[in-house]
Symmetry: C2
């Protein structure tokens, strides 16, 4: 049998950290999973089922040691939106479709591994991710306000319509629900920030500090459940509660693989798989780097792929690595994925024995858990930095943000990718071209606009700061011709190629044209500092014969010295 | 009144060249225009109307001195396809829609000028253009075979269906039509190649040589018309003829601007405008460079925009600069756009007086004119070169070619653009990263895999041959970390930035992460040869404080010498 690396090298001293982290994560996971289930429009048990087998499979196949897999906010949001679009209304069918969605997500992740497509996420730039995450956090928060205040607003409306309805309906809020919701928010926030500081100052043991500070969700859930139960709020005040959760472990099933259902789910499944993968890898990387461990993105695809397959066959819905819980796991001292196995076992025990306790759990408390979890993801910091450093990046971020907010997640990400790639192409289509001169008596040649340098009146030395490819060849041609036309003294043009890593065939044709025009005007073209791989390819072309091997120099200095004589 | 530059500086000695070229182009233009009209599924007069006013408007507003504007093959093909898609079948309505299409094309070109979008064509790489032109030439040729052989095959079928039908129907060919068609092909080919050589050898005057060698279409049209007329082939042998063309100048009209029609035409109009602009600019540029003149792509947009508007209001259809006729104009000695004005006047005279002569003109002769014109555009040369030089470019070309052929022009161009941009991004997402060492005692540092160079065991000097942006930051991070992990002796990493022209905010974050990881491992990161514009932006960031100004060197040599001590 195949044994994961961490298990075969397991050390005794890793156990206590894993045990403690496993327990703490479970305490956070149970209420959070139910909350995310609500966000996806699925019953609490579906979300809890997604929190057992997937964790174990990821522990065996994944590459991160501390990633906490399970239901997460973004994927729950996207799953909810996907299920709402389906032409089914029977709750049973909707739940069955969620299992199928997890199956597809798993299959897509595994296919990406087989097709070696892991690097596809490189095309999601940080600003796009940040814009998307911030907007999603806002959407999720707004979607939970109705639960927080006990308002009756349909799911799946565009965010602005939800806001309008909320502002209209706010006067009909359910007072008991609102009190529960706001107190839960208060408790959660208290445990998150002020309590940690109090505990630190009280210099209580680090372990108890860890456990106490992570108990916020448990406390909020317990207090609000007790309040509903003893004050009979669900009957007397119509406070919405979770209700009956069937007791018992997840049943293994074969998901529905009707072709029409698969076809309807596929586009969103691709997006869910990509986002889940992206989120998980970013979290895993940031944790691994703090411990000088490495994340293998191919192994991540396999781990997440199997985790989703496991979710599908154990009556769950799509899962990924969650930011909040992973951080809890990491900071609580998890050393290996064994911590996740412990969390999974504890969730399983809850499912077997504790579900009656959740009957009176008010939805408002779960809404508060979601809101506190996602509101931390709203990221104005990146926008501020991007705005100061690179306006184009800031624009990509804003476009993604606004599109996610006004249209949907998929369009937003798509718009962001198109925008960031478009801006990059635009930039590289108008490369920086510097006229350079000799720096003192050195062998260095620098931009005449930035340094005091010497130039020769009859030599134009140009450095092109970009690869030459179809989108910028016209620009290069125009720039050189303009410079030559403006200065009649020039006999020699030296093209410094140290920034040029490839020349595509459009650019090669363009160089041919430039050479031809310059020769017609009695100007000789020279190349300097051509890189090895570029030269290898040029050698096979007719261009190199036309320009003449004598006119290619290893350094700019050599070229200029030679031409001066 | 505004007077174009060429007119205000008109010299007497330019007149004879302009007159001769104007006449020769008109001789070519009249039959060619009727042929292209047939290709677009429009009556001959519509195409002739497109050959009067547009030429004059382009002469006034365009920037090329020798571009011959009028109906062209590609745009006729695209116009024909567009009109076939419309839900109208009444010939009058179809013709009216062609005027509207010209109006839209003109408006789009003028809007591109206003929005400064002229550079958009830079994103069409040479291989994509070449693939598209070759495929279109094949489509056009195949579409004309039915006229050449007098077969009854519906228009607008996919090319492969046309081929199947042709092979089925070929046994029913019209013998008289086929004889006319093939003889016309023979005459045209003879005038194009062998005759020129004969005339050259006969050393007859250059002018008469010019005129005679360009008279192919006129001769083919005259002989075939006379044959049809005297042998009564149209009645007795059912040879298809042009028939009645109303005599008289184009009537000025207001095109139909019904919103539903505009909406239906818009997507194709955008593509027609882009292709027309692209074709015209490439032709104009190649001619201008031979005479050391300049093409202003903004003025081109204006010139072509007004030409199309003129076509719209004078009962024409979309026009552009044609390759063949422009070459005729250029080689016949046209000096200024006055040549085009003469051509336009001669077409107008033909319309006023000569239309009865075209009555018996057989369609097979026109088909032969089209075939000879476009077959020269099939370009295997570029494919061969691209294949040898850059497999990726060859692939873009093939994908464009096959998609144009099997699907349609728009999809083909779209696929080609996506493919060429995708390949470029893929390339730049895995940049060449070279470990460099000192070349002898020089100040030059070169790739250790290509040169005999000296390296220091504790210094890793890396040159990244690409801008740093979101798509390649992970690759850079992974590469550096791998190199450092593999070699425990390393204390210093020098990142040589002479190929880096910009660092976007994703890459900046990545550098931060790299710096952090290296520092944790007691390795110092240094930068060398950072370019001015990059340094300016870095100076505003926190990164520069973290790395320390002492660790940034103007040259690699300086960095290595300093670290050696």
């Amino acid at each position: 049998m195949w044994i994961p690396d961490w298990l075969s090298h397991y050390k005794k001293e890793q156990l206590s950290g894993d045990m403690i982290a496993g327990v703490i994560v479970a305490v956070v996971l149970v209420p959070q999973a139910m909350a995310y289930g609500m966000l996806a429009g699925l019953p609490a048990e579906t979300a809890l089922y997604s929190s057992v087998l997937p964790l174990i499979l990821y522990a065996v196949f994944g590459s991160s040691r501390t990633l906490a897999v399970g239901p997460v906010g973004l994927m729950s949001l996207m799953t909810g939106a996907t299920l709402l679009e389906l032409p089914v209304s029977e709750p049973k069918e909707i739940i069955a479709a969620a299992h199928t969605l997890a199956l597809l997500t798993g299959l897509i992740l595994l296919s990406m591994r087989l097709a070696n497509l892991g690097s596809i996420i490189n095309f999601l730039s940080h600003p796009v991710i940040s814009g998307f995450v911030s907007a999603s956090a806002i959407i999720i928060t707004i979607s939970q306000l109705k639960h927080l205040f006990g308002l009756d607003i349909p799911r799946g409306l565009p965010t602005y319509e939800t806001i309008i309805l909320l502002s209209k309906e706010i006067s009909h809020l359910n007072i008991a629900t609102s009190i529960i919701g706001l107190s839960s928010l208060f408790i959660l926030y208290g445990f998150k920030q002020p309590l940690s500081r109090v505990l630190e100052r009280a210099s209580c043991g680090e372990l108890s500090q860890q456990i106490i500070s992570k108990a916020g969700p448990l406390v909020a859930v317990s207090i609000s459940t007790l309040a509903v139960y003893y004050l009979n709020l669900s009957k007397q005040q119509q406070v919405a509660i979770i209700g009956h959760i069937p007791a018992g472990l997840p049943t293994l099933i074969l998901p529905n693989i009707e072709p029409s259902l698969l076809k309807a789910l596929l586009p969103n499944a691709i997006m869910i798989a990509l986002i889940g993968y992206l989120e998980s890898v970013s979290i895993a990387k940031s944790m691994a780097s703090q411990k000088r461990q490495k994340i293998n993105s191919n192994k991540e695809l396999v781990g997440l792929g199997f985790a989703n397959m496991a979710s599908a066959i154990s009556s769950g819905y799509p899962v990924a690595g969650g930011f909040g819980r992973s951080m809890v796991n990491f900071t609580s001292g998890a050393n290996t994925p064994f911590a996740s196995i412990i969390s999974a076992l504890l969730v399983a025990i809850s499912l077997a024995c504790l579900t009656p306790l959740f009957f009176f759990l008010p939805k408002a408390a779960l809404a508060a858990i979601i809101i506190i979890a996602v509101i931390a993801l709203i990221d104005t910091h990146t926008l501020k930095h991007a705005w100061a450093y690179d306006r184009a990046d800031a624009m990509s971020m804003l476009v993604t943000f606004v599109t996610v907010l006004l249209v949907n997640v998929e369009s937003g990400i798509f718009a962001g990718i198109i925008m960031s790639i478009g801006l990059y192409l635009h930039r590289s289509s108008q490369p920086h071209i510097a006229i350079v001169g000799q720096l003192g008596d050195s062998e260095h040649y620098r931009n005449i606009e930035r340094y005091k340098v010497q130039t020769e009146p009859n030599i134009l030395a140009l450095r092109v700061d970009e690869n030459l490819y179809f989108a910028n060849t016209n620009y290069l041609e125009d720039t050189i011709m303009q410079l030559v036309a403006d200065n009649k003294e020039i006999d020699h043009v030296v093209l410094i190629c140290n920034s040029i890593s490839f020349i595509d065939s459009s650019a090669l044709e363009s160089l041919d044209v430039i050479l031809y025009h310059l020769q017609k005007a009695d100007i000789q073209l020279h190349l300097a500092e051509v890189k090895g791989p570029v030269m290898d390819k040029l050698k096979t072309t007719a261009f190199i014969k036309k320009i003449g091997a004598d006119n290619i120099f290893i350094s700019t200095h050599q070229a200029i010295q030679h031409l001066k004589q």
